[in-house]
Amino acid sequence: MTATVPRDQETRERPATSPQAPRRSAVRWLADHIVLIIGILVLIYTFVPIAYIFALSFNQPSARSATAQFEGFTLNNWTSICEPEGLCESLQLSVLVSIVATILATVLGTLMAFALVRHSFRGRSTSNLVIFLPMATPEVVMGSSLLAMFVSVGVDGLLGFATLVIAHTLFCLSFVVVTVKARLAGMDTRLEQAAMDLYANEWQTFRLITLPLAMPGIVAAAMLAFSLSFDDFIVSNFTAGQSVTFPLYVYGSKLKEFPPQLFVVGTIMFLVSFLFVIAGEIWRRRRAAALR
């Protein structure tokens, strides 16, 4: 650090004597902030469709299909979310499938992560490979192989909630394992040793030290699993049978008329997740402050 100080002074003095001082400092400012500016531009780009969805949720379409232009302001779409036939049923199914799949994937995946990080046994690298494979499998392959299995086992008449949960748990599982594993691998095991030294038994150590420390990783994994599951179209398209999840409903609407209420749901999804993440951030700061 000390060596950079003289250079800083040097560059700071130079513009003062130079006639082109303002331009130089502008260039310098730009050089310092160019990455930040690019980053913000990229962020703005990712928000373009969100702004579009938000605006169109207040649209009063004249035609029956609502994808086109903004024609008039209305709040009707917000008060009649459930009006399009099947929309709310599809949301209900999606929420239910995602909750069950998230719980299953988080529990199974966390156990696996603990086994892989905390215990040594033969076949660990094989296990790692088996966990990695589903992530290296394109979704269309996973969906089609599951459908082929369900058909050949003869349960294709029963496609629906159960097969959706099975499929969603499957593709969430690997993501949960890697997320929790990353958290566990970075944890300081001396804290657990200290607890044991202070006569905590294995269960107490786990409940009071290990689990709270691993919690941020587990929560992050569960949130990831939920969002992957809730937004999944490709695998669901193969395994849903006659049931309709929200993404399948959107896809179906694209072919027929497109109810403007879909934009309302999109906006609500954005707002709810945004609030969730902000709340999590506040909770994290409080916790960090309390620990200090």
Partner: protein
Amino acid sequence: MTSGLDTATEPSGPVVDGETSKRRGWGWLLLVPGMLWLAVFFLFPTVQLFFTSLYDPSGSYEQGYTMTWHFANYVDAVRDTWDLFARSFVYAGIATAVCLALGYPLAYAIAFKAGRWKHFMLVLVIAPFFTSFLLRTLSWRTILADQGPVVDFLQTILILPEDGRLLATPVAVIAGLVYNFMPFMTLPIYASLDKVDHRLIEAAGDLYASPFTGFRKVTLPLSMPGVVSGTLLTFIPASGDYINAELLGTPNQYMIGNRIQSAFLTEHNYPLAASLSLILMAIVVVMVVFYVRRTGTEDLL
């Protein structure tokens, strides 16, 4: 999501009293339920898919198929669809490169330049992606439409000819892939950059490295695990995707995913669909293994 594939297999906790922090014994039992799930619903269907791919292609969905070990299915599949495979990997490759070009500066800005806005910016990276990706892709379809604002603007500044269009072109499909898989690139890179010890970068500066040299010799190599995870997490789903090609392109831009989907769900041609799926999976796995070896990040697997 912040971690991606970025995992260390060994715990970094120090060894105390010469005793390893790993316990032997019955800990592996924790692995059993999850492994059973993967075996029954992933490995078994994949093996079965292999058998399906060898069925007699003259059978049909209604009459059923007979197993004839018909390896020629693979030859037929490749002969009929090699152009779709080529297009898929070209589109996915370009999309991955663009994602890297956009995602790396964003991740870098968040990790090093955002200051106290760091977590807020991170939230902004993730937030758009909680809205249904189909809705977002359909929005792009309208935004990029022939009468839409983007085409108008590009025609005004003469980048696009008067009759030029974006929708239904490869550009739109690739842009859609870039958009949809961006966080899978940004977040692992951010996770790697965030771990970089700032003192190393300062040390490079102290040793008279220019900021650019410092970045090239210190920051970039240290962020490689994130770059590798990010490119994999982008490239793999992008190569199998068929939604962007369907919504933003025409059959002329269709990728292998479109073909597999229609072979399975519309034509019920299971042998063809199964052999296409397995070829896709095999190519992806081979590419991943080769890539990971090349970049020397085997720990990721």
